[in-house]
Symmetry: C2
Subunit: 358 residues, 2 copies
C-alpha cells in the first residue's frame, strides 16, 4: 500500500544493522531556526494551531527535508498533546513556554484525569502522521514521538515549565503513591498514543525524557525509567512485517544508560555530556546509540563544526549502530547554513567509519 522505503539507513542503524554511512537527523529539525518554519507558524496563528492542523504540521515536517539530505523525518508535534487532550487547558504564551490552566495536584485531580482516545481527541496527530507518510512517499522513514510520563508529568503537576519542580517533587517525596497513580495514567495514555501513531504510519518512535536528569538515581529508576520500560513493553514493535524501532532519550541521563539498555529499547539517545565511547562501554554492543553533538557547536564556523562532527564519529568509532544527531534540540538562533555544514560533514566523513559491506 505505502511506497517502499528508498532510504532505510536510519532504521537499519537503529537495529544495529550494517549501513554504508552514518544516518543523520536533528532533534527539532522542523523548528524556529528555519525562516520557512517561522512563516508557516505565523500563518497558523498559534503554536497549538500549527500542531492541530494536519496540513500545516505536514508542511513544517517536510521543510528541513527540502533543505538538507536528512535520513529521517520527525512528526511535527509537541510532548504536551496528551495533557491538552486530557482537558488541562494548555496554552503557549509568547516567550513564556507552556502553561496549563488546570494543573494536577490532588488525589481528586489525579482520579478524574481521563485517558484520551488517541483516535478521537488526538485524531489530528494521526491525520498528520498519515498525511506526512503519503507526502514522504517512501523517501525516508517517519519518526513518531511522545514525552516520557515523568517529563509530561512535570508540566502536568507544575502547570508549566519549572526550575525547581517544587510541586511534583513535593508529591514524589511526600505522596509517592499519588505520583505513581498519575504516572500510570500518563503511561497508559502514552502507549495508546504511540501505538496509534505506529498504526497511522510512524516507522520508528522516540520517547523524550527531557527532565529525567533532575532526579536522583533511585527516583529516576522508580519514577521515570520504570514507566518508559512499560511503554517499550506495550508498543507495537512490528508493522507490515517490519520492525518498528524505539528510541529512549533522557537528557542528562548518561549515568542511567546501563539501566535504560535493559528496557528492551532498540536505541538510546545520548546528550553531549557523555562521550559515545563511554556510552558504548556502559551499554554493550547490542543497542544502537543516537547523538551527540553539542547543539551549541552550531554557533561556531563551519570548519569548526566539521572538526566536532569528526570527534563524535571518532568517539563512536568503527562499526554500525550509530545515528548521528545533536545531543538536544537545535537552538532557535542557529544559522541554517551551519546545520547544513553539520549534515554535509556526516555525509562526507562517516563512510570511513563503516566497514565495507559484504
Amino acid at each position: 500500500m505505502s511506497a517502499p522505503l528508498q532510504n532505510d539507513i536510519f532504521i537499519k542503524a537503529l537495529l544495529s544493522q550494517p549501513t554504508p554511512r552514518t544516518p543523520v537527523w536533528m532533534m527539532r529539525q522542523a523548528g524556529r531556526y528555519l525562516p520557512e518554519y517561522r512563516a508557516t507558524r505565523a500563518r497558523a496563528g498559534s503554536f497549538m494551531n500549527l500542531c492541530m492542523n494536519p496540513e500545516l504540521a505536514c508542511e513544517v515536517t517536510l521543510q528541513p527535508l527540502a533543505r538538507y539530505p536528512l535520513d529521517a523525518a520527525i512528526l511535527f508535534s509537541d510532548i504536551l498533546t496528551i495533557p491538552h487532550a486530557m482537558g488541562l487547558g494548555l496554552e503557549f504564551e509568547a516567550g513564556e513556554g507552556p502553561k496549563l490552566a488546570r494543573p494536577v495536584r490532588t488525589q481528586a485531580d489525579v482520579e478524574r484525569l481521563p485517558i484520551p482516545h488517541a483516535e478521537a481527541e488526538l485524531a489530528y496527530v494521526m491525520k498528520a502522521v498519515a498525511l506526512i507518510r503519503r507526502e514522504l512517499n517512501g523517501r525516508v522513514p517517519l519518526i513518531g514521538f511522545a514525552g516520557s510520563p515523568w517529563t509530561v508529568g512535570t508540566y502536568v503537576v507544575e502547570g508549566g515549565s519549572s526550575k525547581t519542580f517544587s510541586h511534583i517533587k513535593a508529591m514524589l517525596y511526600g505522596q509517592p503513591a499519588l505520583l505513581h497513580r498519575l504516572l500510570q495514567t500518563l503511561t497508559q495514555a502514552t502507549i495508546g498514543y504511540l501505538n496509534a501513531q505506529i498504526e497511522s504510519g510512524a516507522q520508528a518512535v522516540m520517547v523524550f525524557d527531557t527532565w529525567g536528569g533532575v532526579l536522583t538515581p533511585r527516583a529516576y529508576q522508580e519514577y521515570s525509567l520504570a514507566y518508559m520500560a512499560q511503554i517499550v513493553a506495550g508498543l507495537t514493535r512490528e508493522k507490515d512485517g517490519k520492525r518498528v524501532p524505539v528510541i529512549l532519550f533522557t537528557k542528562n541521563g548518561g549515568a542511567f544508560l546501563p539501566q535504560m539498555a535493559l528496557t528492551g529499547a532498540d536505541a538510546l539517545g545520548v546528550d553531549w555530556t557523555t562521550d559515545l565511547s563511554t556510552a558504548r562501554q556502559r551499554v554493550g554492543p547490542r543497542i544502537a546509540l543516537q547523538g551527540n553533538l553539542d547543539p551549541s557547536v552550531l554557533y561556531a564556523p563551519p570548519s569548526a563544526i566539521r572538526e566536532e562532527v569528526r570527534r563524535v564519529l571518532d568517539s563512536f568509532g568503527q562499526g554500525h549502530g550509530h545515528v548521528f544527531n545533536l545531543g538536544h534540540g537545535i537552538h532557535p538562533d542557529v544559522n541554517p547554513e551551519h546545520a547544513g555544514a553539520m549534515i554535509d560533514a556526516v555525509h562526507e566523513l562517516s563512510p570511513a567509519y563503516h566497514p565495507t559491506l559484504g
Copy 2:
C-alpha cells in the same frame, strides 16, 4: 589573635579526619528562604548593596547560624564580584538575574580586561570576611568562595544568565585561544581573590562551577577543570599553622569526579544526581565528599525529609570524610522549618555512621 575554633568538625571532615558525627551546612543558607534575610535585603535596597556592605553581609551570614545548629558559616557574597570589580557593569534586575552592561566578546575586550586588586576594588569582601570572623568568635569556621573561571566566564561573555551559552560556545569552538586567554585572566583574578579571603580569615574555600556540566567531557577538562586545578595549585593551603581545605563543586559533574579528584582539592561537592556511594567508588578513599540531598526534598514533609537524609547517610556509609549538604543551593520558596528538619536529622542520625573514636 583569633579565638580558637570551638567546633572544627567541618574542617576535620574536609580533611577526611575522624569526627563524632557528620557536619552539616547548606549552600545558600543565608538567603531568600529566610524572612530575616528578606528584611535585611529590603533595608540594603539592592542585592549588590547587600554584598558591598560588610556589616549587612556579616548580618545575613550569621542569620542561619542563629536559627540552626550548623557546622560552618559561608561568606555572604556573589560569584560575580570579580566581573563587577573588572568594571563590566553588573546589575541585578528584579526577577531577571544578573546582567552585565559590557559583555566580553572580542579580542580587544579580553585584552583590556583588568585583574582587580582584591585588597582594593574587592576590599569590601575582605572587610566582611574579617568582620564575620570576629563576630563568629570561633563558634564555627568560615567558608570563603568564588565561581570557577568557566562559570564566571559564561556570565562575562553572555552578559548574563543563559540557556544555550551561544556566545561563549561560539568562542569555545570557534576561537579557543581567545577563550583560553579570558579564562586565564579570570583564573589569575580568582587566585588573588581567594588568597585575600584566606588572608582575611576564611578557614576553607569553595569553588562553585555551576555551569561546568553543560560542557562535553573534553571541553570540561580543557575549559573548566584545567583552570580550577590552577586555582587549587595557587591557593594558600596553610594559615596560622592550620590547613585551609579547598572544595571543588561542578553541578551536573558526577561523571567528572575522577578527574576532579586529581586536582589536589581536599573535597568534592556532589549534586543529587550521583549517589555518594558511586562518587566514592569514582574518587577513592582519600578525598572528602560534600552533599548531596536533592534541594527539592525540602518541599516534602519533615518525616519524608528525615528518611531522605538517612538515604544520603546510608549511601556514604560508615566512615569519615563526609560533609552533609544539599546537592545545590536551597530553593527560595522552602519552608525554613523544613531546613531545620534536615539539619536535626543529620545531628540525630549521623553519629551511627561514625566509628567510635579511639
